[in-house]
Amino acid sequence: MTIKVLGPGCAKCKQLEKNVQVAVKELNQDITVEKVTDFQEIAQYGVMSTPALVVNEEVKVTGKVLKPDEIKQLLV
């Protein structure tokens, strides 16, 4: 499973990335976390409010910093 954090690098994007790392660690499964900061790539997903979460190439959440527990629910 691949999870991508989309965001150009504002404070909220970093927070979301941290939360994702926590969630992934707690789930202890084979999940790759990628950070996407390039506008061009972010735009390709059609995302307008960052940060956003993409799970297996599908945009799940935009413009919101999810807590680790909420991220876990997206992943299971």
Partner: protein, 333 residues
Amino acid sequence: MDIFSWLNDQLLKMEWLSNLIHLLVEDIFHISVDEKLGGSIHFFIYDTIKIFILMSVLIFIISFIQSYFPPERTKRLLGGIKGIKGHILGALLGTITPFCSCSSIPIFIGFTTAGLPLGVTFSFLISSPMVDLASFLLLTSFFGVKIAAVYVIVGLILAVIGGMIIDKLKLEHHIESFVMNSGSTEDDIDRLTYNERIGYAIDEVKAIFKKVWYAILIGVGIGALIHNWIPQSVIETVIGEDNPLAVLIATVIGIPIYADIFGTLPIAEALFGKGVQVGTILAFMMSVTALSLPSLIMLSKVIKPKLLTLFIAIITIGIIIIGYTFNALDFLF
């Protein structure tokens, strides 16, 4: 007593806080606020606390309202509307958008791929950092409702006219090509509950606080310097009434500065206290908030140099015109 002026004095201007800090400086520090040192200490503590309180409350309220208008929804609202109505709506929706400047580029791309006219997108982009409910209430607190209303109205007019000019010039091909080939999502992904909106608003207050607290301290520090240490004559020579270049200088100084309305206000307040004209102050505040190096660098990734230059030129000239017009109408304030 007039209930509204009481509310304004106590809630927005926070006269109670000013009196409290007055007591603190005079009775505990034993420095007279009429002296330079006491005066600047009073200015610094009072302004810092006042701005932090106003900022937290305002960002909370605005983020809550904002959670009903995610950019995806704004995009849809703007969709079917053509002509000047589109520009006006774009400028108005720009007043209720997220504060984080890093979201303006994805919004730009989203609007463009949705087929919104370039000029409408620019009306939105110009008004978004410059005018919002927070700036209106803050300006009311510092300068009174008249100047606040004027700031908001001319800011919106600048956004509408700037967008219309960009529309007329047909510059669609000056957008980087990848923008046109981007994807598009709908706004049904996440419907928020009431509690989530409250949570979002609280998070927003925290995030913005973390981001701007030092800028506010710097702004208040500069304000305190201007207020008590820089001689009146210096200010008058550089941006005073008798210098015909005052507005021009204030605008140019403001362009590269990266600050939002919260950090800019204490400086504007101190300049106002030194007798600098309203138009010059409006020009300074607008150029600080509407144009900044970081946002221009980000914009340069999605639009080509010619359009970027035009964007800067339109805003700069617009701000200068606004500045001189209001200085000429100074007697009204």
